[in-house]
């Protein structure tokens, strides 16, 4: 099969698509485009959910590596030394402690149970983007006492009646208001609300944050223990590297990466996503393959006499086969381009209007690799589907073809 033969096959294919049935071309391209979108949409959405959950977990709960108490212990003890050790290790951006204490909030006639997290506000900025999520007021400062920041769902909305609320709230707290917080240890204090934040991550939004200094006053002594320590890795350092480093340098507490925690908590859900993705992919490939097979079969059956004539005037069967092959390739490329455009439009739409649930929010998560892989899979499926009938009809003897 030389260059000339391929050129003639391409010319025949191009002219057939240009001057043949336009509606058939449009419909086929549309179907391939839709199949591509179907192939990529659901996995991208699931990937978006996974990415969203992972990111929010990293940002507001565990960082890249979480140091938590060994079983049997309530706290990570000897905090100062542990933080000093971790912060001195290569690859660690910052380690910051959290101390969580249960409390009851009272605002006007509303009473609400809320977890209060004590943080070192300045260090926390290296680990969590919480400080960027303030929707009213200000973030905490290191020396703040008697001031608290609360999540939007905790603050509540004054326009919504208590019985209509999705989750209980304080009924419309605003910045500057005073809330009474009764801690589980019996200590009660009035706080001025310094700021209200909204992260989109339900566990963080359902909590309140005070400074480490403030919590020391609540406890009544310097805090040298923490509920956990979150560790942020520098760019280019893997979670596993940091985890191994921490263990190697003698951090005696439980050290887990985000992946460790995710596999325990959401591993089954992510596996289910993967199965659904695979089923969706297979169904889309089958649909595309069958549609193209039918389209090309009909095309070849309708052109049997013409194929016979072409063979009669000296056109080789390989040229005839590649003619239909090129038609499928062109249709598949156009369909894939349409599919990419449709997917991009959906991605833009969902970036503006993400899927929001009370627990997380997600957009389409697409990578160039995903697009390239799906394009390749669809392309191969399309070419196989097109070449099979083309091969069959090109092998038919001239007499049978001409009599068709």
């Amino acid at each position: 099969m030389g260059k000339k033969e391929l050129k003639v096959a391409f010319l025949l294919a191009l002219r057939s698509l240009q001057r043949g049935s336009r509606s058939s071309v449009i419909l086929t391209v549309l179907i391939i485009g839709m199949c591509f979108t179907n192939m990529i949409f659901l996995p991208s959405l699931f990937n978006g959910i996974e990415q969203s959950i992972t990111k929010q977990l990293v940002d507001y709960e565990v960082g890249n590596v979480l140091v938590s108490p060994e079983s049997g212990d309530q706290y990570v003890n000897n905090l100062g030394a542990t933080l000093g050790l971790i912060n001195g290790l290569p690859g660690v951006e910052r380690a910051t402690p959290h101390y969580t204490e249960g409390a009851t909030f009272t605002y006007r006639k509303r009473i609400l149970g809320v977890s209060v997290r004590a943080i070192m506000p300045d260090d926390e900025k290296y680990v969590s983007p919480l400080y960027t999520k303030m929707i009213a007021g200000d973030y905490l400062g290191n020396g703040d006492t008697g001031e608290i920041i609360i999540g939007k769902p905790v603050a509540g909305d004054p326009t919504i009646r208590e019985e209509d609320e999705f989750q209980p709230s304080l009924g419309g707290v605003r910045v500057g208001d005073s809330v009474t917080v009764a801690y589980a240890n019996g200590y009660t204090r009035n706080y001025r609300v310094k700021g209200i934040y909204s992260t989109g991550w339900s566990q963080a939004d359902s909590a309140a944050y005070v400074s480490w200094t403030d919590m020391e006053q609540v406890i009544g002594e310097p805090l040298d223990h923490a509920s956990d320590i979150t560790v942020k890795a520098k760019p280019g350092y893997s979670e596993t590297f940091i985890k191994n480093e921490l263990i190697q340098y003698g951090v005696a507490d439980k050290v887990q990466t985000t992946s460790d925690l995710l596999s325990k908590s959401l591993g089954t859900a992510f596996q289910s996503f993967a199965i659904i993705n695979l089923v969706s992919l297979i169904v889309s490939i089958i649909i595309t393959t069958v549609v193209l097979f039918i389209v090309i079969t009909i095309k070849t059956l309708n052109s049997r006499r013409q194929i016979g004539i072409l063979k009669a005037i000296g056109v080789d069967k390989e040229v005839i086969m590649h003619n239909y092959g090129f038609q499928v390739i062109i249709l598949a490329i156009l369909g894939i381009i349409l599919g990419i455009v449709l997917t991009m439009l959906l991605a833009v739409y969902m970036a503006i209007h993400p899927v929001v649930t009370p627990a997380w929010s997600a957009t389409l998560y697409l990578t160039p690799t995903d697009i390239a892989m799906n394009s390749l899979i669809l392309f191969v499926a399309a070419v196989v589907a097109g070449y099979v009938p083309a091969y069959q009809v090109s092998r038919e003897d001239i007499q049978t073809a001409m009599r068709a």
């Binding site: 000339k4 003639v8 072409l310 009669a312 080789d316 040229v319 001239i398």
Partner: protein
């Protein structure tokens, strides 16, 4: 040019055996304009298809220019058709999605010994000769039946074949267009000494042929010249 020896073609339809050609033996000389005539079902088209390598005989031998075509492989037959034979079909058989120029150029494009300039030149030359150069960018459906058949002749002639086969080329044309097409064949035969084998059932066509063979039930029942001398 063409030697046909004891050519037989039997079609089997279930238990029924149809002898479409029954021991045909004849020679066709170079430059001859041969008319194959006979009633419907006499075996004219079958003979043409055998000579044109479009069908395989049940028995017998065809030698074209010294080549026993029965020994050729499928690919060799395709190349033989491309380089040495030309066809004109009853229903014109042009590719509907190609322009007149593209239809005519198609066989020439596939020849390994032709550059793009050469096949373009050849196509333009043959279109000019049949008087349809001004229609080169038209699609077949934009032409009359007679014009389409002339394009079909141009396509058959673009590779300057050794033998031109025509299977009832005037069957779908009125008398006026038939005359135009037959004149075209005569012109090609006289000017280019082109060997032409044409199947026809119209008696008045015989005036154009050098030699006429008549078939009945797959057998040659008469073979005679028509007052012409072969070039």
């Amino acid at each position: 040019m063409i030697e046909i020896q004891d050519l037989t073609k039997i079609y089997r339809m279930g238990s029924v055996e149809v002898r479409a050609l029954d021991g045909v033996t004849l020679d066709i000389a170079k430059g001859e304009f041969l008319g194959v005539m006979g009633a419907s079902g006499s075996g004219k088209t079958t003979l043409l298809h055998m000579l044109g390598l479009l069908d395989i005989p049940t028995s017998g031998r065809i030698v074209i220019d010294g080549t026993d075509v029965g020994t050729l492989t499928d690919y060799e037959k395709t190349m033989f058709r491309l380089y040495k034979l030309g066809y004109v079909f009853q229903d014109f058989a042009l590719v509907p999605d190609l322009t007149v120029m593209e239809n005519v150029s198609l066989p020439a494009m596939l020849r390994k010994d032709r550059t793009e300039d050469q096949y373009r030149e050849a196509s333009i030359g043959i279109l000019r000769k049949i008087g349809l150069l001004d229609r080169q960018d038209h699609l077949p459906r934009e032409l009359s039946g007679g014009q389409q058949q002339r394009v079909s002749i141009a396509r058959a002639m673009v590779n300057k074949p050794d033998i031109l086969f025509a299977d009832e080329p005037c069957a779908n044309l009125d008398t006026e267009n038939s005359r135009l097409v037959l004149d075209q064949f005569r012109g090609i035969n006289e000017e280019m000494h082109q060997t032409i084998v044409m199947v026809s059932h119209e008696d008045w066509h015989k005036d154009y042929f050098h030699r006429i063979i008549r078939l009945r039930d797959g057998k040659v029942v008469s073979d005679g010249t028509n007052g012409y001398s072969i070039h």
